[in-house]
Amino acid sequence: MDVQALKKIANEVRKDIVTEVYYAKAGHPGGSLSSAEIYTYLYFEEMNVDPKDPKNPDRDRFVLSKGHTCPGLYAAMCERGYFDREELKTFRHIGARLQGHPSMHYLPGIDMSSGSLGQGISVAVGMALAAKLQGKSYRTYTLLGDGELEEGQVWEAAMFAGAKKLDNLCVIVDNNNLQIDGSITEVNNPYPIDKKFEAFNFNVLHADGQDFESLATSFARARELKGQPTVIICKTLKGKGVSFMENSVDWHGKAPNDEQYKIAMADLERIGEAL
Protein backbone atom coordinates (compact mmCIF):
# COMPACT_ATOMS: atom_id res chain seq x y z
CA MET A 1 0.00 0.00 0.00
CA ASP A 2 1.45 3.42 -0.87
CA VAL A 3 2.09 6.03 1.78
CA GLN A 4 -0.67 8.29 0.50
CA ALA A 5 -3.25 5.53 0.92
CA LEU A 6 -2.00 4.81 4.45
CA LYS A 7 -2.21 8.49 5.32
CA LYS A 8 -5.83 8.55 4.18
CA ILE A 9 -6.64 5.52 6.31
CA ALA A 10 -4.91 7.06 9.35
CA ASN A 11 -7.05 10.16 8.89
CA GLU A 12 -10.18 7.98 8.77
CA VAL A 13 -8.91 6.25 11.93
CA ARG A 14 -8.69 9.67 13.59
CA LYS A 15 -12.26 10.52 12.60
CA ASP A 16 -13.37 7.16 13.97
CA ILE A 17 -11.55 7.82 17.26
CA VAL A 18 -13.22 11.18 17.74
CA THR A 19 -16.60 9.69 16.80
CA GLU A 20 -16.24 6.79 19.25
CA VAL A 21 -15.34 9.03 22.14
CA TYR A 22 -18.02 11.56 21.23
CA TYR A 23 -20.79 8.94 21.16
CA ALA A 24 -19.47 7.31 24.34
CA LYS A 25 -19.26 10.69 26.08
CA ALA A 26 -16.09 9.21 27.57
CA GLY A 27 -12.79 7.64 26.59
CA HIS A 28 -9.21 8.55 25.80
CA PRO A 29 -8.79 10.51 22.56
CA GLY A 30 -5.30 12.00 23.10
CA GLY A 31 -3.25 8.81 23.20
CA SER A 32 -5.49 7.19 20.60
CA LEU A 33 -4.84 9.99 18.12
CA SER A 34 -1.09 9.93 18.74
CA SER A 35 -0.99 6.24 17.77
CA ALA A 36 -3.21 6.47 14.67
CA GLU A 37 -0.35 5.85 12.22
CA ILE A 38 1.01 3.02 14.39
CA TYR A 39 -2.36 1.24 14.49
CA THR A 40 -2.84 1.81 10.78
CA TYR A 41 0.60 0.53 9.88
CA LEU A 42 0.23 -2.57 12.07
CA TYR A 43 -3.21 -3.55 10.74
CA PHE A 44 -2.70 -2.63 7.08
CA GLU A 45 0.98 -3.35 6.44
CA GLU A 46 2.88 -5.06 9.17
CA MET A 47 0.81 -7.79 10.76
CA ASN A 48 -0.30 -11.05 9.21
CA VAL A 49 -3.97 -10.89 10.24
CA ASP A 50 -7.26 -11.69 8.59
CA PRO A 51 -10.48 -10.10 9.85
CA LYS A 52 -12.38 -13.16 8.59
CA ASP A 53 -10.17 -15.58 10.50
CA PRO A 54 -9.34 -13.75 13.73
CA LYS A 55 -8.41 -16.90 15.67
CA ASN A 56 -5.98 -18.36 13.16
CA PRO A 57 -3.24 -19.91 15.33
CA ASP A 58 -0.53 -18.67 12.96
CA ARG A 59 -1.64 -15.04 12.90
CA ASP A 60 0.57 -12.31 14.26
CA ARG A 61 -0.49 -11.16 17.73
CA PHE A 62 -1.12 -7.67 19.04
CA VAL A 63 -1.48 -6.75 22.69
CA LEU A 64 -2.52 -3.19 23.43
CA SER A 65 -0.67 -2.73 26.69
CA LYS A 66 -1.91 0.87 26.89
CA GLY A 67 -5.46 -0.47 26.72
CA HIS A 68 -7.17 2.86 27.37
CA THR A 69 -6.30 3.97 23.83
CA CYS A 70 -8.48 1.24 22.34
CA PRO A 71 -10.54 3.80 20.38
CA GLY A 72 -7.51 3.86 18.06
CA LEU A 73 -7.29 0.08 17.93
CA TYR A 74 -11.02 -0.32 17.29
CA ALA A 75 -10.83 2.32 14.58
CA ALA A 76 -7.99 0.54 12.76
CA MET A 77 -9.78 -2.80 13.11
CA CYS A 78 -12.97 -1.24 11.77
CA GLU A 79 -11.15 0.25 8.76
CA ARG A 80 -9.51 -3.14 8.19
CA GLY A 81 -12.92 -4.80 8.06
CA TYR A 82 -13.35 -6.49 11.45
CA PHE A 83 -16.74 -4.81 11.92
CA ASP A 84 -18.98 -2.11 10.48
CA ARG A 85 -18.32 1.56 11.10
CA GLU A 86 -21.74 2.02 12.72
CA GLU A 87 -20.62 -0.16 15.65
CA LEU A 88 -18.02 2.47 16.59
CA LYS A 89 -20.88 4.51 18.02
CA THR A 90 -21.54 1.77 20.59
CA PHE A 91 -18.11 2.20 22.22
CA ARG A 92 -18.43 2.06 26.03
CA HIS A 93 -22.18 1.48 25.86
CA ILE A 94 -23.85 -1.27 27.86
CA GLY A 95 -23.69 -4.56 26.00
CA ALA A 96 -21.21 -3.22 23.44
CA ARG A 97 -18.43 -5.36 22.00
CA LEU A 98 -16.27 -2.24 22.09
CA GLN A 99 -15.62 -2.24 25.82
CA GLY A 100 -13.96 0.73 27.53
CA HIS A 101 -10.75 -1.29 27.58
CA PRO A 102 -10.24 -4.15 25.13
CA SER A 103 -11.79 -7.52 25.95
CA MET A 104 -10.92 -10.61 23.93
CA HIS A 105 -14.22 -12.25 24.80
CA TYR A 106 -16.37 -9.38 23.65
CA LEU A 107 -14.68 -8.68 20.34
CA PRO A 108 -13.11 -11.26 18.01
CA GLY A 109 -9.76 -9.98 16.78
CA ILE A 110 -8.68 -8.70 20.17
CA ASP A 111 -5.83 -11.02 21.12
CA MET A 112 -5.77 -10.08 24.78
CA SER A 113 -7.92 -8.25 27.27
CA SER A 114 -5.90 -5.36 28.60
CA GLY A 115 -6.11 -2.04 30.32
CA SER A 116 -4.23 -2.43 33.55
CA LEU A 117 -0.93 -0.79 32.63
CA GLY A 118 2.25 -2.82 32.56
CA GLN A 119 0.58 -6.19 32.14
CA GLY A 120 0.17 -6.23 28.37
CA ILE A 121 3.88 -6.33 27.64
CA SER A 122 4.25 -9.39 29.90
CA VAL A 123 1.38 -11.12 28.13
CA ALA A 124 3.01 -10.32 24.78
CA VAL A 125 6.23 -11.83 26.12
CA GLY A 126 4.23 -14.97 26.96
CA MET A 127 2.84 -15.10 23.43
CA ALA A 128 6.29 -14.65 21.89
CA LEU A 129 7.63 -17.35 24.20
CA ALA A 130 4.77 -19.67 23.16
CA ALA A 131 5.74 -19.20 19.51
CA LYS A 132 9.32 -20.19 20.33
CA LEU A 133 8.19 -23.22 22.37
CA GLN A 134 5.77 -24.35 19.65
CA GLY A 135 8.13 -23.66 16.74
CA LYS A 136 5.71 -21.16 15.22
CA SER A 137 6.79 -18.21 13.12
CA TYR A 138 4.19 -15.63 14.12
CA ARG A 139 5.39 -12.34 15.57
CA THR A 140 4.00 -10.55 18.60
CA TYR A 141 3.56 -6.79 18.83
CA THR A 142 2.67 -4.74 21.86
CA LEU A 143 2.07 -1.01 22.17
CA LEU A 144 2.93 0.84 25.38
CA GLY A 145 2.53 4.42 26.45
CA ASP A 146 5.56 6.34 27.64
CA GLY A 147 3.89 7.03 30.98
CA GLU A 148 3.23 3.30 31.24
CA LEU A 149 7.01 2.79 31.45
CA GLU A 150 6.71 3.94 35.07
CA GLU A 151 5.09 0.58 35.89
CA GLY A 152 7.70 -1.78 37.35
CA GLN A 153 6.19 -4.77 35.58
CA VAL A 154 7.28 -3.32 32.22
CA TRP A 155 10.89 -3.80 33.28
CA GLU A 156 10.28 -7.28 34.68
CA ALA A 157 8.93 -8.16 31.25
CA ALA A 158 11.75 -6.40 29.41
CA MET A 159 14.42 -8.14 31.49
CA PHE A 160 12.86 -11.55 30.78
CA ALA A 161 12.37 -10.87 27.04
CA GLY A 162 15.98 -9.77 26.73
CA ALA A 163 17.23 -12.76 28.73
CA LYS A 164 15.25 -15.20 26.59
CA LYS A 165 16.30 -13.46 23.36
CA LEU A 166 12.74 -13.14 22.12
CA ASP A 167 13.50 -11.71 18.68
CA ASN A 168 9.93 -12.45 17.61
CA LEU A 169 8.73 -9.72 19.98
CA CYS A 170 8.36 -6.12 18.89
CA VAL A 171 7.63 -3.57 21.59
CA ILE A 172 6.36 -0.19 20.44
CA VAL A 173 6.43 2.86 22.68
CA ASP A 174 4.13 5.76 21.88
CA ASN A 175 6.34 8.57 23.12
CA ASN A 176 3.87 11.46 23.13
CA ASN A 177 5.46 12.86 26.27
CA LEU A 178 2.23 13.37 28.22
CA GLN A 179 0.43 11.39 30.90
CA ILE A 180 -2.68 12.20 32.96
CA ASP A 181 -1.03 14.38 35.58
CA GLY A 182 1.27 16.27 33.20
CA SER A 183 4.34 15.81 31.06
CA ILE A 184 6.16 12.56 31.71
CA THR A 185 9.18 14.45 33.00
CA GLU A 186 7.08 16.44 35.46
CA VAL A 187 5.28 13.42 36.85
CA ASN A 188 8.21 11.02 37.09
CA ASN A 189 10.79 10.54 34.37
CA PRO A 190 11.07 7.44 32.23
CA TYR A 191 13.86 8.97 30.12
CA PRO A 192 16.26 7.88 28.77
CA ILE A 193 13.89 5.29 27.30
CA ASP A 194 16.36 4.06 24.69
CA LYS A 195 19.21 3.49 27.13
CA LYS A 196 16.90 1.66 29.52
CA PHE A 197 15.74 -0.83 26.89
CA GLU A 198 19.30 -1.17 25.62
CA ALA A 199 20.40 -2.06 29.14
CA PHE A 200 17.66 -4.73 29.20
CA ASN A 201 19.18 -6.33 26.09
CA PHE A 202 16.82 -4.94 23.46
CA ASN A 203 17.58 -3.68 19.97
CA VAL A 204 16.48 -0.07 20.09
CA LEU A 205 15.02 1.75 17.08
CA HIS A 206 13.70 5.28 16.87
CA ALA A 207 10.88 6.29 14.56
CA ASP A 208 8.73 9.27 13.80
CA GLY A 209 5.45 7.74 14.89
CA GLN A 210 3.47 9.99 12.62
CA ASP A 211 5.49 9.19 9.49
CA PHE A 212 4.73 6.01 7.54
CA GLU A 213 8.11 5.88 5.82
CA SER A 214 9.85 6.07 9.17
CA LEU A 215 7.55 3.43 10.62
CA ALA A 216 8.08 1.16 7.58
CA THR A 217 11.85 1.39 7.92
CA SER A 218 11.75 0.59 11.63
CA PHE A 219 9.31 -2.32 11.42
CA ALA A 220 11.31 -3.82 8.53
CA ARG A 221 14.53 -3.46 10.51
CA ALA A 222 12.88 -5.05 13.58
CA ARG A 223 12.09 -8.16 11.50
CA GLU A 224 15.72 -8.44 10.40
CA LEU A 225 17.24 -8.07 13.85
CA LYS A 226 17.84 -11.47 15.42
CA GLY A 227 18.94 -12.60 18.84
CA GLN A 228 17.22 -9.86 20.82
CA PRO A 229 13.74 -8.36 21.11
CA THR A 230 13.27 -4.96 19.51
CA VAL A 231 11.71 -1.80 20.81
CA ILE A 232 10.62 0.96 18.45
CA ILE A 233 10.39 4.26 20.29
CA CYS A 234 7.94 6.35 18.31
CA LYS A 235 8.00 10.10 18.74
CA THR A 236 4.40 11.29 18.48
CA LEU A 237 2.13 14.19 19.26
CA LYS A 238 -0.70 13.56 21.72
CA GLY A 239 -4.06 14.49 20.22
CA LYS A 240 -2.52 14.72 16.73
CA GLY A 241 -4.87 15.97 14.02
CA VAL A 242 -7.43 17.73 16.21
CA SER A 243 -6.35 21.35 16.70
CA PHE A 244 -7.49 21.83 20.27
CA MET A 245 -6.43 18.36 21.44
CA GLU A 246 -2.84 18.53 20.21
CA ASN A 247 -0.17 18.32 22.90
CA SER A 248 -2.80 18.88 25.57
CA VAL A 249 -3.00 16.92 28.83
CA ASP A 250 -6.66 17.96 29.12
CA TRP A 251 -7.60 15.61 26.30
CA HIS A 252 -6.05 12.49 27.78
CA GLY A 253 -9.36 11.12 28.92
CA LYS A 254 -12.23 13.40 27.97
CA ALA A 255 -14.91 13.42 25.29
CA PRO A 256 -15.70 16.42 23.08
CA ASN A 257 -19.07 18.12 23.42
CA ASP A 258 -21.30 18.77 20.38
CA GLU A 259 -19.49 21.91 19.32
CA GLN A 260 -16.04 20.47 19.92
CA TYR A 261 -16.99 17.37 17.95
CA LYS A 262 -17.93 19.51 14.97
CA ILE A 263 -14.63 21.41 15.14
CA ALA A 264 -12.64 18.18 15.50
CA MET A 265 -14.35 16.56 12.52
CA ALA A 266 -13.89 19.71 10.45
CA ASP A 267 -10.16 19.71 11.32
CA LEU A 268 -9.88 16.12 10.13
CA GLU A 269 -12.00 16.75 7.02
CA ARG A 270 -9.58 19.52 6.04
CA ILE A 271 -6.59 17.24 6.59
CA GLY A 272 -8.30 14.55 4.53
CA GLU A 273 -9.04 16.91 1.65
CA ALA A 274 -5.43 18.02 1.54
CA LEU A 275 -4.24 14.42 1.14
Binding site: S113, S116, Q119, S122, A124, V125, G126, L133, Q134, E156
Partner: protein, 313 residues
Protein backbone atom coordinates in the same frame (compact mmCIF):
# COMPACT_ATOMS: atom_id res chain seq x y z
CA UNK B 1 -0.56 -40.44 64.83
CA UNK B 2 3.22 -40.89 64.61
CA UNK B 3 2.93 -44.03 62.48
CA UNK B 4 0.83 -42.20 59.88
CA UNK B 5 2.48 -41.56 56.52
CA UNK B 6 3.16 -37.85 56.01
CA UNK B 7 3.79 -36.13 52.67
CA UNK B 8 3.90 -32.41 51.90
CA UNK B 9 1.41 -31.51 49.18
CA UNK B 10 4.10 -29.40 47.44
CA UNK B 11 5.97 -32.70 46.89
CA UNK B 12 2.83 -34.06 45.27
CA UNK B 13 2.67 -30.99 43.04
CA UNK B 14 6.11 -31.57 41.53
CA UNK B 15 5.65 -35.32 41.11
CA UNK B 16 2.22 -35.04 39.54
CA UNK B 17 3.41 -32.43 37.05
CA UNK B 18 6.07 -34.89 35.89
CA UNK B 19 3.35 -37.52 35.38
CA UNK B 20 1.18 -35.09 33.43
CA UNK B 21 4.09 -33.79 31.40
CA UNK B 22 4.17 -36.98 29.37
CA UNK B 23 0.45 -36.90 28.67
CA UNK B 24 0.16 -33.17 27.89
CA UNK B 25 2.88 -31.96 25.53
CA UNK B 26 1.56 -28.38 25.79
CA UNK B 27 1.89 -28.32 29.58
CA UNK B 28 4.59 -25.90 30.73
CA UNK B 29 5.71 -25.07 34.25
CA UNK B 30 6.69 -21.57 35.33
CA UNK B 31 8.58 -20.66 38.44
CA UNK B 32 9.87 -17.50 40.05
CA UNK B 33 13.23 -18.68 41.35
CA UNK B 34 11.65 -21.12 43.78
CA UNK B 35 11.65 -24.38 41.81
CA UNK B 36 13.54 -26.06 44.62
CA UNK B 37 10.89 -25.05 47.14
CA UNK B 38 7.76 -25.45 45.02
CA UNK B 39 9.15 -28.90 44.14
CA UNK B 40 8.81 -28.35 40.42
CA UNK B 41 12.55 -29.01 40.15
CA UNK B 42 11.65 -32.60 39.26
CA UNK B 43 9.65 -31.35 36.29
CA UNK B 44 12.55 -29.15 35.23
CA UNK B 45 14.78 -32.22 35.29
CA UNK B 46 12.33 -34.33 33.28
CA UNK B 47 11.30 -31.62 30.79
CA UNK B 48 13.95 -28.89 30.79
CA UNK B 49 12.52 -27.29 27.64
CA UNK B 50 9.10 -26.92 29.22
CA UNK B 51 10.24 -25.39 32.49
CA UNK B 52 10.46 -21.61 32.42
CA UNK B 53 12.12 -19.83 35.28
CA UNK B 54 10.91 -16.25 35.26
CA UNK B 55 13.22 -15.18 38.04
CA UNK B 56 12.07 -13.21 41.05
CA UNK B 57 9.22 -11.45 39.26
CA UNK B 58 5.90 -13.06 40.14
CA UNK B 59 3.70 -10.40 38.55
CA UNK B 60 5.47 -10.82 35.24
CA UNK B 61 5.23 -14.60 35.59
CA UNK B 62 1.44 -14.50 35.95
CA UNK B 63 0.99 -12.30 32.88
CA UNK B 64 3.45 -14.43 30.88
CA UNK B 65 1.38 -17.46 31.88
CA UNK B 66 -1.65 -15.64 30.49
CA UNK B 67 0.15 -15.07 27.18
CA UNK B 68 1.14 -18.73 27.01
CA UNK B 69 -2.44 -19.83 27.73
CA UNK B 70 -3.80 -17.43 25.11
CA UNK B 71 -1.49 -19.21 22.67
CA UNK B 72 -2.78 -22.70 23.44
CA UNK B 73 -0.43 -23.87 26.16
CA UNK B 74 -1.33 -25.07 29.67
CA UNK B 75 0.91 -23.14 32.03
CA UNK B 76 1.29 -24.09 35.69
CA UNK B 77 2.54 -20.93 37.37
CA UNK B 78 4.27 -21.88 40.60
CA UNK B 79 5.35 -19.83 43.57
CA UNK B 80 4.50 -19.32 47.23
CA UNK B 81 0.86 -18.52 48.00
CA UNK B 82 1.94 -15.16 49.38
CA UNK B 83 3.32 -14.08 46.02
CA UNK B 84 0.86 -15.92 43.76
CA UNK B 85 -2.29 -14.60 45.39
CA UNK B 86 -0.80 -11.62 47.19
CA UNK B 87 1.88 -9.89 45.20
CA UNK B 88 0.49 -10.87 41.81
CA UNK B 89 -3.18 -10.51 42.75
CA UNK B 90 -3.99 -7.94 40.14
CA UNK B 91 -2.17 -9.83 37.40
CA UNK B 92 -4.13 -12.94 38.33
CA UNK B 93 -7.33 -10.91 38.34
CA UNK B 94 -6.79 -8.93 35.13
CA UNK B 95 -4.42 -11.03 32.99
CA UNK B 96 -5.85 -14.44 33.91
CA UNK B 97 -9.26 -14.12 35.59
CA UNK B 98 -10.92 -11.48 33.44
CA UNK B 99 -9.97 -13.11 30.11
CA UNK B 100 -10.73 -16.51 31.73
CA UNK B 101 -7.47 -18.00 30.51
CA UNK B 102 -6.43 -21.58 31.05
CA UNK B 103 -3.75 -20.89 33.64
CA UNK B 104 -3.19 -23.17 36.61
CA UNK B 105 -1.68 -21.54 39.67
CA UNK B 106 0.25 -23.84 41.97
CA UNK B 107 0.58 -21.93 45.22
CA UNK B 108 2.81 -23.64 47.74
CA UNK B 109 3.84 -22.64 51.26
CA UNK B 110 0.36 -21.53 52.26
CA UNK B 111 -0.64 -20.98 55.86
CA UNK B 112 1.30 -20.86 59.12
CA UNK B 113 2.77 -24.33 58.56
CA UNK B 114 5.38 -22.55 56.44
CA UNK B 115 6.94 -22.41 59.88
CA UNK B 116 10.22 -20.72 60.69
CA UNK B 117 10.10 -18.14 57.87
CA UNK B 118 7.38 -16.38 59.80
CA UNK B 119 4.47 -14.08 59.02
CA UNK B 120 5.86 -12.41 55.89
CA UNK B 121 5.73 -15.76 54.11
CA UNK B 122 2.70 -17.33 55.80
CA UNK B 123 -0.18 -16.45 53.51
CA UNK B 124 -3.50 -16.59 55.34
CA UNK B 125 -5.56 -14.56 52.89
CA UNK B 126 -5.10 -16.33 49.56
CA UNK B 127 -8.36 -18.25 49.51
CA UNK B 128 -10.29 -15.06 50.24
CA UNK B 129 -8.50 -13.20 47.46
CA UNK B 130 -8.75 -15.93 44.84
CA UNK B 131 -12.34 -16.79 45.69
CA UNK B 132 -13.43 -13.25 44.87
CA UNK B 133 -12.30 -13.55 41.24
CA UNK B 134 -15.16 -14.56 38.92
CA UNK B 135 -14.65 -17.91 37.21
CA UNK B 136 -11.66 -18.93 39.32
CA UNK B 137 -11.70 -22.51 40.65
CA UNK B 138 -10.12 -22.56 44.11
CA UNK B 139 -8.92 -25.80 45.68
CA UNK B 140 -7.18 -26.63 48.92
CA UNK B 141 -6.36 -30.34 49.04
CA UNK B 142 -6.01 -32.21 52.32
CA UNK B 143 -3.24 -34.65 51.54
CA UNK B 144 -1.05 -36.28 48.93
CA UNK B 145 -3.86 -38.33 47.41
CA UNK B 146 -6.24 -35.42 47.09
CA UNK B 147 -3.54 -33.03 45.86
CA UNK B 148 -2.69 -35.42 43.04
CA UNK B 149 -6.37 -35.73 42.11
CA UNK B 150 -6.74 -31.94 42.21
CA UNK B 151 -3.85 -31.33 39.85
CA UNK B 152 -5.16 -33.93 37.41
CA UNK B 153 -8.64 -32.38 37.54
CA UNK B 154 -7.13 -28.92 37.07
CA UNK B 155 -5.34 -29.85 33.87
CA UNK B 156 -8.57 -31.24 32.44
CA UNK B 157 -10.58 -28.19 33.46
CA UNK B 158 -10.73 -25.41 30.88
CA UNK B 159 -10.19 -22.17 32.77
CA UNK B 160 -8.18 -20.65 35.59
CA UNK B 161 -7.52 -22.73 38.70
CA UNK B 162 -5.86 -21.82 41.98
CA UNK B 163 -4.41 -24.72 43.96
CA UNK B 164 -3.15 -24.31 47.50
CA UNK B 165 -0.37 -26.54 48.73
CA UNK B 166 1.62 -26.72 51.95
CA UNK B 167 5.27 -26.85 52.87
CA UNK B 168 5.00 -29.19 55.84
CA UNK B 169 4.44 -32.94 55.53
CA UNK B 170 0.81 -33.74 56.38
CA UNK B 171 -0.89 -37.07 57.16
CA UNK B 172 -2.23 -39.05 54.21
CA UNK B 173 -5.92 -39.43 54.97
CA UNK B 174 -7.30 -40.75 51.69
CA UNK B 175 -6.81 -44.21 50.26
CA UNK B 176 -6.19 -45.27 46.68
CA UNK B 177 -9.93 -45.65 46.06
CA UNK B 178 -10.42 -41.89 46.53
CA UNK B 179 -12.60 -40.25 43.87
CA UNK B 180 -12.31 -36.55 43.23
CA UNK B 181 -14.43 -34.11 41.28
CA UNK B 182 -14.06 -30.32 41.16
CA UNK B 183 -16.86 -28.73 43.16
CA UNK B 184 -17.80 -31.89 45.08
CA UNK B 185 -17.19 -32.29 48.77
CA UNK B 186 -17.46 -35.54 50.73
CA UNK B 187 -18.67 -36.72 54.09
CA UNK B 188 -15.70 -38.54 55.58
CA UNK B 189 -17.46 -39.57 58.75
CA UNK B 190 -21.17 -39.53 59.50
CA UNK B 191 -22.29 -37.78 62.67
CA UNK B 192 -25.35 -36.22 64.27
CA UNK B 193 -24.32 -33.59 66.87
CA UNK B 194 -22.09 -31.21 64.94
CA UNK B 195 -20.63 -30.87 61.45
CA UNK B 196 -16.96 -30.04 61.06
CA UNK B 197 -16.28 -28.80 57.55
CA UNK B 198 -12.57 -28.72 56.84
CA UNK B 199 -9.98 -28.42 54.13
CA UNK B 200 -6.23 -28.66 53.76
CA UNK B 201 -4.33 -29.99 56.73
CA UNK B 202 -7.31 -29.30 58.97
CA UNK B 203 -9.06 -32.35 57.50
CA UNK B 204 -6.65 -34.62 59.39
CA UNK B 205 -7.08 -32.41 62.47
CA UNK B 206 -10.87 -32.68 62.19
CA UNK B 207 -10.72 -36.47 61.92
CA UNK B 208 -8.50 -36.60 65.00
CA UNK B 209 -10.85 -34.23 66.81
CA UNK B 210 -13.80 -36.44 65.88
CA UNK B 211 -12.20 -39.35 67.75
CA UNK B 212 -11.70 -37.18 70.84
CA UNK B 213 -15.26 -35.88 70.62
CA UNK B 214 -16.56 -39.43 70.27
CA UNK B 215 -14.85 -40.30 73.53
CA UNK B 216 -16.93 -37.51 75.11
CA UNK B 217 -20.06 -38.95 73.54
CA UNK B 218 -20.27 -36.30 70.82
CA UNK B 219 -20.97 -37.50 67.30
CA UNK B 220 -19.23 -35.23 64.80
CA UNK B 221 -19.85 -35.35 61.07
CA UNK B 222 -16.65 -34.63 59.16
CA UNK B 223 -17.03 -32.99 55.78
CA UNK B 224 -14.15 -32.43 53.41
CA UNK B 225 -14.48 -29.40 51.15
CA UNK B 226 -11.42 -29.27 48.93
CA UNK B 227 -13.00 -27.04 46.31
CA UNK B 228 -14.01 -23.88 48.08
CA UNK B 229 -15.09 -22.41 44.78
CA UNK B 230 -17.38 -23.56 43.32
CA UNK B 231 -18.60 -24.59 46.75
CA UNK B 232 -20.61 -27.81 47.12
CA UNK B 233 -23.56 -25.91 48.58
CA UNK B 234 -25.86 -28.91 48.44
CA UNK B 235 -23.58 -30.88 50.73
CA UNK B 236 -22.98 -27.92 53.07
CA UNK B 237 -26.73 -27.35 53.43
CA UNK B 238 -27.37 -31.07 53.84
CA UNK B 239 -24.94 -31.51 56.71
CA UNK B 240 -26.04 -28.25 58.36
CA UNK B 241 -29.68 -29.31 58.20
CA UNK B 242 -28.76 -32.69 59.65
CA UNK B 243 -26.67 -31.64 62.67
CA UNK B 244 -27.87 -28.06 63.16
CA UNK B 245 -24.39 -26.91 64.19
CA UNK B 246 -21.49 -26.18 61.86
CA UNK B 247 -17.82 -25.60 62.56
CA UNK B 248 -15.38 -24.82 59.76
CA UNK B 249 -11.67 -25.57 60.14
CA UNK B 250 -8.91 -24.23 57.92
CA UNK B 251 -5.33 -23.03 57.99
CA UNK B 252 -6.39 -19.61 56.73
CA UNK B 253 -7.81 -16.42 58.12
CA UNK B 254 -11.32 -16.85 59.45
CA UNK B 255 -12.16 -14.02 57.05
CA UNK B 256 -13.08 -14.96 53.53
CA UNK B 257 -11.83 -18.52 53.23
CA UNK B 258 -13.71 -21.76 53.80
CA UNK B 259 -15.42 -20.31 56.88
CA UNK B 260 -16.51 -17.29 54.90
CA UNK B 261 -17.75 -19.39 52.00
CA UNK B 262 -19.74 -21.72 54.23
CA UNK B 263 -21.15 -18.82 56.26
CA UNK B 264 -22.29 -17.05 53.08
CA UNK B 265 -23.96 -20.19 51.83
CA UNK B 266 -25.68 -21.09 55.08
CA UNK B 267 -26.83 -17.60 55.96
CA UNK B 268 -28.72 -17.50 52.66
CA UNK B 269 -29.85 -21.10 52.31
CA UNK B 270 -29.99 -22.64 55.78
CA UNK B 271 -29.20 -20.28 58.67
CA UNK B 272 -27.26 -22.37 61.16
CA UNK B 273 -25.28 -21.69 64.31
CA UNK B 274 -21.65 -21.59 63.22
CA UNK B 275 -18.12 -21.27 64.47
CA UNK B 276 -15.09 -20.63 62.27
CA UNK B 277 -11.80 -22.24 63.25
CA UNK B 278 -8.82 -20.61 61.60
CA UNK B 279 -6.34 -17.84 62.22
CA UNK B 280 -8.33 -15.20 64.00
CA UNK B 281 -7.57 -12.01 62.09
CA UNK B 282 -3.91 -11.81 62.97
CA UNK B 283 -0.55 -12.54 61.34
CA UNK B 284 1.41 -15.69 61.99
CA UNK B 285 4.91 -15.94 63.45
CA UNK B 286 8.11 -17.98 63.31
CA UNK B 287 8.41 -21.44 64.74
CA UNK B 288 8.39 -25.09 63.70
CA UNK B 289 5.20 -26.05 61.87
CA UNK B 290 3.76 -28.58 64.30
CA UNK B 291 4.13 -26.47 67.46
CA UNK B 292 2.75 -23.49 65.53
CA UNK B 293 -0.31 -25.44 64.46
CA UNK B 294 -0.73 -26.41 68.09
CA UNK B 295 -0.38 -22.84 69.32
CA UNK B 296 -2.95 -21.62 66.78
CA UNK B 297 -5.25 -24.53 67.72
CA UNK B 298 -5.36 -25.96 64.23
CA UNK B 299 -4.18 -29.45 65.18
CA UNK B 300 -6.51 -32.23 66.33
CA UNK B 301 -6.46 -31.09 69.93
CA UNK B 302 -7.06 -27.46 68.97
CA UNK B 303 -10.02 -28.33 66.80
CA UNK B 304 -11.40 -30.60 69.51
CA UNK B 305 -11.14 -27.85 72.14
CA UNK B 306 -12.78 -25.24 69.98
CA UNK B 307 -15.61 -27.52 68.91
CA UNK B 308 -16.25 -28.43 72.55
CA UNK B 309 -16.28 -24.78 73.58
CA UNK B 310 -18.68 -23.96 70.74
CA UNK B 311 -21.04 -26.77 71.70
CA UNK B 312 -20.96 -25.79 75.37
CA UNK B 313 -21.45 -22.07 74.74
Amino acid sequence: MSDVKRIATRETYGKTLVELGAEYPNLVVLDADLAGATKTGVFKKAYPDRHIDCGIAESNMMSIAAGLAASGMIPFASTFAMFAAGRAYEQVRNSIGYPHLNVKIGATHAGISVGEDGASHQCLEDLALMRAIPGMVVMCPADDTEARACIKAAVEHDGPVYMRFGRAPVPVVFGDDYKFEIGKGAILREGTDVSIIANGLCVASALEAADMLAADGISAEIVNICTIKPLDEELVVKTAAKTGKVVTAEEHSIIGGLGGAVAECLSEKCPTKMYRIGVRDRFGESGPAIPLLHKYELDGEGVYKQVKAFLEA
